[in-house]
């Protein structure tokens, strides 16, 4: 009994630690006073002004576009890589997996400056494309780590059986391999999307002057003071993801219930 309540207190404390800043930001988004230190009454003003703020809307669009494109491209390259790597002999396989781990284990600041040096050395002007390349690069390892275990589980025999029964390799891939590894692909995509959305350091070093994602925009506003519209935007983003994820988690259960009846 004692042990159980201790356990619950501990869980609650960690939960507070994780979610206190999020609650704070949500409360701030309704704060009529521009200062973060004072409560100036309840308002919806920032939510209305958010949609009229061109600069914020533009960086939101850019952030989402980057997250989607980089996650999508990384998922394709990463999944294809897993299938190929899985066919290799042990030696090359472990070398490639070792190199794949480099971006995960390396410091982001080192990765960021190494990209910046390369783009400048090869005279590629910094902009949307360079940020996209940076994001794809740090997303691919996440995709490979999510998909690889599934590819290993699938094994060769069912694929070979499909080929023996007359399926073309592409047909066999769609019908046999893909359904098996799909959960890995989806979680790789989602993880990549989240990482890209939350990234600041790589974007900071590869973006050049003209463009801003939400992260770099917030960072540039730190000294002048963050616009309260930002709090409103992040509250909206957070809530929409929360609702989406709850729905996604509920759907399979609801389906099961219907099927069981």
């Amino acid at each position: 009994m004692m042990k159980k309540s201790l356990r619950n207190i501990y869980l609650a404390l960690i939960f507070i630690l994780l979610y206190a800043p999020i609650i704070t930001l949500m409360v701030l988004s309704f704060n009529a006073s521009k200062s973060r230190a004072k409560w100036g009454g309840f308002t919806f003003k920032w939510y209305i002004e958010l949609f009229q703020n061109q600069a914020i809307m533009e960086s939101l669009y850019l952030t989402l576009l980057l997250a989607f494109l980089s996650a999508f491209i990384a998922t394709i390259i990463g999944t294809a890589a897993c299938i190929g790597i899985n066919r290799m002999k042990k030696g090359p396989q472990s070398i490639i997996m070792g190199i794949t781990n480099i971006p995960l284990l390396n410091a982001e600041i080192v990765t960021g400056i190494s990209f910046m040096l390369m783009f400048i050395a090869f005279d590629i002007s910094l902009g949307f494309n360079t940020v996209l390349i940076g994001h794809i690069s740090f997303n691919i390892p996440y995709v490979i780590l999510s998909v690889m275990p599934k590819v290993k589980q699938t094994g060769k025999s069912s694929y070979e059986a499909a080929l023996d029964l007359g399926a073309t390799p592409i047909y066999a891939f769609w019908k046999v391999i893909l359904p098996d590894i799909l959960p890995g692909i989806l979680s790789g995509f989602l993880l990549s999307f989240t990482m890209s959305l939350d990234d600041f350091i790589i974007t900071y070093f590869t973006k050049g002057r003209g463009i801003n994602t939400l992260s770099t925009k917030i960072y540039s506003e730190v000294k002048k003071g963050i616009k309260p519209e930002m709090y409103a935007l992040s509250t909206l983003l957070f809530l929409s993801v929360l609702i989406l994820l709850i729905l996604v988690n509920r759907l399979p259960k609801a389906k099961e219930k219907i099927n069981n009846k």
Partner: protein, 275 residues
């Protein structure tokens, strides 16, 4: 022979190209810049500049703060992972969900929110005042930076440890108990040794980002506390001395390399504990 080789492996071709172009070449460039001066001649000066008092102090402080935050994360995360395992929520995804969800709120904003909470007249001190407790002044000190590191990187410690713990077969634990081990013995002789791969990958995933951060120190340290990350960032964005910045990055890479060697030694090629 050649044709089958091509057919078998071409599917991973795009990634192999990507890996060489965007992982290997950039790192080689950092090393090239780090070992040369502006005229392109070989020099060790960029690396040796770590011994100047200003740079060395930053590196020392970074090491101290990141070690502290790694230890705190481990102490917080291990019991947490044990509790989560004990809850036997068979929905693995739910726990991942709780820890990944905060990431959908921008990392900079979340860290800034701690500024609001920890400030002199912030939320925390107001609460403490209501409870008639002494106020806490940690904003703009190294303690606030440690706090920010623990907050930001705790999930990266919890998830690998949790992933390893739930894979431990309960029968092994039952066997130990049947053979007369008490719960302390079971923990130190069975559970902890089996969870070491998770602990090691957790340590890596907290220590390296803490050691190299420049954002957390900037936001919670009031811009007056310089970590090695801040110095490198300034060399690239304001001082435009890329050679010096690359040299200092190479010093950081030595620490990363040491960490990688350690990881591979304990984690014998499994790597899966990361996710």
């Amino acid at each position: 022979m050649n044709k089958t080789f091509f057919k078998k492996y071409f599917i991973s071709g795009p990634y192999l190209f990507w890996m060489i172009a965007f992982t290997i070449i950039p790192i080689c460039l950092v090393i090239y810049y780090g070992l040369t001066d502006k005229s392109g001649t070989f020099t060790l000066q960029n690396i040796m500049s770590i011994t100047t008092p200003e740079h060395f102090k930053a590196l020392w402080l970074s090491l101290l703060l990141s070690l502290a935050s790694t230890v705190i994360c481990l102490l917080l995360a291990y019991p947490l992972a044990m509790i989560l395992k004990g809850l036997s929520v068979n929905k693995n995804s739910f726990i991942v969900f709780i820890f990944i969800l905060p990431m959908w709120m921008n990392f900079l904003l979340r860290t800034l929110a701690w500024q609001t909470i920890l400030e002199k007249n912030g939320v925390l001190n107001t609460l403490l005042e209501i409870l008639h407790l002494p106020s806490l002044n940690i904003i703009n000190t190294p303690y606030a930076i440690i706090f920010g590191m623990v907050y930001n990187f705790l999930p990266f410690m919890v998830l690998p440890i949790y992933n390893v713990l739930i894979k431990i077969d309960d029968n092994v634990i039952h066997a130990a108990k049947d053979l007369g081990a008490n719960s302390v013995q079971t923990f130190f002789k069975i559970i902890f040794p089996l969870s070491i791969p998770g602990v090691i990958s957790g340590i890596t995933m907290v220590f390296i980002p803490s050691l190299t951060t420049f954002v957390i120190s900037n936001l919670l340290g009031g811009g007056k506390i310089y970590l090695i990350g801040n110095i490198i960032e300034q060399e690239f964005t304001t001082a435009y001395n890329w050679h010096l910045g690359s040299g200092l990055s190479m010093v950081l890479m030595v620490f990363i390399l040491l960490n990688m060697i350690l990881t591979f030694k304990f984690d014998k090629g499994e790597g899966g504990a990361v996710l």
